[in-house]
Structure formats: C-alpha cells, structure tokens
C-alpha cells in the first residue's frame, strides 16, 4: 500500500457533511425540550428540528436530514409507500397463533435460509415481514415479531436514526425451556437472544423495558432508553401495535397488499 499517498489523501480531504433524503409518512411528533421537536416517520426514521412546523400526522413527506438527524428540509411528497393497505376483515380478537417450537439446529437452518436478497436502504419492517411470510408459507413456521422502540431521550442523546426496529422472533426448545431468539439476518451473523439483539442498537447496553401497551412507550417519562414489544408475525410495524391497543383487535393473517409492498420496498 502506498502509505504516503493514502495519508495525503486522508489528511488533505475535507470531510463532506452528508445529507440524506427519505420519503415517509409522519407518524407523530414530540417535544424533547422547549426548543427541539422529534418527528417520527413511518419508515422508522426520525428528524429533529427547532423550527415550529405545521405538519399533518399520517401525511407523506420528502425529508432531508443531516448525519445527526437534524431536519434540513421537509415538504409534501407522495412517493412514500402507503401507510396501511389493510382491510378490516383481516382483524380479529382471538389469541395470536402459537409460535412453532424449533430445535437449536433448526434455528440455524432457518437463519441460514432467510432471504439474503434484500435491497440497500430496505426498511426493517419490510425485511422482517418477508422473512416471516416466507418461513410461514414455505416451511409452515409460525414466528412472532419483536419490536424495540427507542425513547426520544435516547434518540436525542445518541442522535439515533430510528425510533423503532423490528425482526422475526422464533421460539427455541432448549433443554426443558423455551427461549426466544431474534432472527435479524441483516445485523446479526446468527440467531441471538433479545438482549444480545438490543445491545447492538442500544449503545448504553441498558435493557429495554418490556411492555404490552404501545401507549406506555408513546407517552413515557423518558427515563428509559427503549421499550420492547412482542406481537404476532402478522403485524407489520408499530402502527399495528398502536391500532391493536386502540381497537382491541389483532391482525389474523398476512395481508397480500402488505406483503407485496414489503417485497417491492425491501427485495
């Protein structure tokens, strides 16, 4: 390696600040402090702004942020994927499907056959949905989804890019116990425990607080870094968790529309 040339290149180059554009629906906003507002979008991304903006929740926007998630520009744009293609007949009130119990060996087999053809900048909810769908339809494996929901204080402190992340969750028979392992093919080289999984995103390594109610996360005292929710494989993103709490109804099957969207965006 030509060390001299490389070093000259390293030192003389003035680092560029990178701006990033994404297209998504605004899901909600909350004040982090008297000046700063956190905007949460349907694709999991966030933006922080000190400006007073008049934005409509659920509307689609084109958003430009800098590398520290500061909002540089936002304008209406319908390039974002639809928020929810679900029709009411896919919901029910009964218990979610029981996850298939698998052995450790099966777990590794499943992990290694997960679809690796995901696209650059694919969204976690779409990858997770396709992985769960393919295991269910091709191999009759019933899984769950695990959601990690980051608090505004954590996002602000670490200038973290996302307000949530999701991956498939499988139930593993181990000795006489059942363990839950996360199958996040993009970020982990093998199935991992929920704590190992969250440690990859929660730089403080604090455990996330488990909750069954989205509202506990949505209106939280900002004393935690993150919350955890587990729900059925039919859920697509946290909006489903929120709707479930509001309506008392859960999704009872995969929606062809959502699966199509998930494939189109992520694979």
């Amino acid at each position: 390696m030509s060390t001299v040339i490389l070093l000259v290149f390293f030192f003389l180059f003035i680092p560029r600040l990178e701006a990033e554009t994404f297209f998504a629906h605004l899901i909600g906003s909350e004040k982090i402090n008297p000046q700063t507002t956190l905007l949460k979008f349907s694709n999991g991304r966030v933006a922080l702004t000190d400006d007073v903006l008049h934005l409509e929740t659920n509307d689609p926007y084109a958003v430009i942020v800098d590398e520290e998630q500061n909002l540089l520009q936002i304008q209406s744009d319908d390039k974002a994927l639809p928020l929810d293609s679900e029709s009411p007949h896919h919901f029910h009130i009964s218990a979610p499907p029981t996850p298939t119990l698998i052995s450790e060996n099966e777990a590794y087999d499943i992990f290694n056959r997960l679809n690796s053809r995901y696209k650059r900048s694919s969204e976690c909810s779409n990858r997770a949905h396709v992985w769960a769908w393919e295991e269910f339809t091709k191999h009759h494996m019933t899984s769950e989804k695990v959601y990690v929901l980051f608090t505004a204080s954590y996002i602000n402190k670490h200038r973290f890019k996302w307000w949530f992340h999701v991956a498939p969750l499988f139930s593993i028979k181990k000795d006489n116990n059942v363990e839950k392992w996360v199958f996040d093919f993009m970020f982990n080289p093998r199935p991992v425990t929920i704590k190992e999984w969250t440690d990859g995103f929660v730089f403080t390594k604090r455990s996330c607080l488990y909750t069954e109610k989205f509202s506990e996360y949505d209106v939280n005292p900002q004393t935690e870094d993150c919350y955890l929710m587990v729900d059925s494989m039919f859920t697509w993103n946290p909006i489903d968790l929120k709707n479930k709490e509001l309506s008392g109804q859960s999704k009872s099957q995969f929606s062809r529309g959502e699966i199509n969207f998930a494939y189109k965006q992520a694979f």
Partner: protein, 224 residues
C-alpha cells in the same frame, strides 16, 4: 492452474491419463485434484462491528461475480461515517467478534481483527489489479463501489514476491489459485472526531479511527 498443467504433463509422460471425466488414475497411486472453478456468483453480508463507536448501525453487501476470467465487485455500505472506508479481502475464515477484543477496551481494533481474520489479500480500492497501487483510493461515506478487471491481473500480482512478510499484506504462493470462498471481507472507518481509548492499535500509519472495523462478512458462493 499451473499446478494442474504440471501434473497433467507428468501423467502424459508416464502414459497414465485416461479419456474419462474422472481424473483419478488409481486410488493406490495418485489422485489429481482438479481445482474448483472460481466462476460463479459470491455474496457477502456485511454486518456491523463496533457500532457503539460508529454512532449508527453500518451495514452493507457485496456481490462478486467471476465469469470467463473476469471479476466484478459491487459493494454498498449504508449508515457509515463520512470518511474514507478502506475495504479488504482477508485470508481468514471468520469475522472477529467481541470475544476477540483481547485487551478488553471494548473495541475490536484492526490488529485484533487481523489476528482472527487473517492478513490483507486484496484491497478493494480503485485498482483491483495491484495489491500495492501507487494511487489507491477507497470509497467515502455511504457508498456504492464497482470495479471490474481480468482475474489474471490480480493473480499475477498476488504471485509476485512478498517484499515484506512482516507487514499486514500477504501474497499467494506461486502455485496457489485465488479462491475467494469463505474468505473475510472487512470495511474500516469511523468518524475521525470519535475519541478512542489509547489502547487502540492502527496499521499503516493511518489514523486509528480510519482503521476501526465497521462491517465484516464471509464471502459465500451462491448456489447455482
């Protein structure tokens, strides 16, 4: 290939070769191992390392195609720091993990990575033909990287003498074919403003931040 040619010549000389597909002459005498064709599609899932230093969760993929003596590499990296990212194919067969942080400073530095993932075989820079190019340039920030060349140029260069066996680069043996399968691909570089423990070791006189591994993956041949 040269090894095979030499072996075939020897067999012709002794009149042992048959016309069949099977190159085994006699199990008791000798067996010629035909090197597997390097042709095919390879994929690398690049998963994050040291993400607590990156601030984000870097991730990427690389697609390597070898076909009729041509090699093309397409890689992308997302959620990466706005810095130059050295990317290498290493000789080892596994990526480092937290257990390889031998000095316990919480960071897998490049020396710790080299220890388990091997030395640098191919720098994925702007000139794949030579390991030690004079104007090597690596991609910057979130990047898409594409390079294509004749495989023979890479192999010829990798079979030139290793002028410094003690550095972090390694050459092939004269009769060794380039086999990418199960080798490690690694990409380096966090934001140079990041404060690092003094225990971090760098290499090649680069600033420590620019040699911190951020993603790593194994090169896997895709099934036909």
């Amino acid at each position: 290939m040269k090894k095979l040619n030499l072996a075939l010549s020897t067999l012709f000389y002794f009149g042992l070769i048959s016309c069949g597909q099977n190159t085994s002459v006699s199990k008791d005498i000798m067996t010629i191992e035909t090197p597997a064709s390097p042709d095919g599609d390879y994929q690398v899932i690049l998963r994050p390392l040291n993400n607590h230093l990156s601030g984000w969760i870097p991730n990427g993929k690389s697609d390597i195609k070898i076909n009729n003596g041509q090699i093309s590499v397409y890689s992308w990296l997302e959620d990466a720091a706005p810095e130059f990212h050295q990317q290498f194919i290493l000789t080892g067969k596994r990526c480092p993990d937290q257990a390889d942080d031998k000095n316990g400073d919480g960071v897998i530095d490049i020396r710790e990575a080299f220890r388990v993932s091997g030395k640098i075989l191919i720098p994925l820079d702007n000139n794949l033909r030579v390991q030690n190019g004079s104007q090597d340039q690596f991609p910057f920030g979130n990047f898409s990287y594409t390079q294509k060349t004749d495989l023979k140029f890479i192999e010829e260069d990798l079979k030139t003498p290793d002028l410094d066996p003690h550095d972090f680069f390694v050459k092939l043996n004269r009769n060794e074919s380039l086999n990418l399968e199960n080798k490690v691909m690694i990409i380096l570089g966090i934001n140079r403003k990041t404060t690092l423990p003094l225990s971090i070791q760098s290499f090649d006189q680069s600033p420590s931040q620019l040699t911190i591994p951020v993603v790593c993956g194994l090169i896997k041949k895709s099934p036909l």
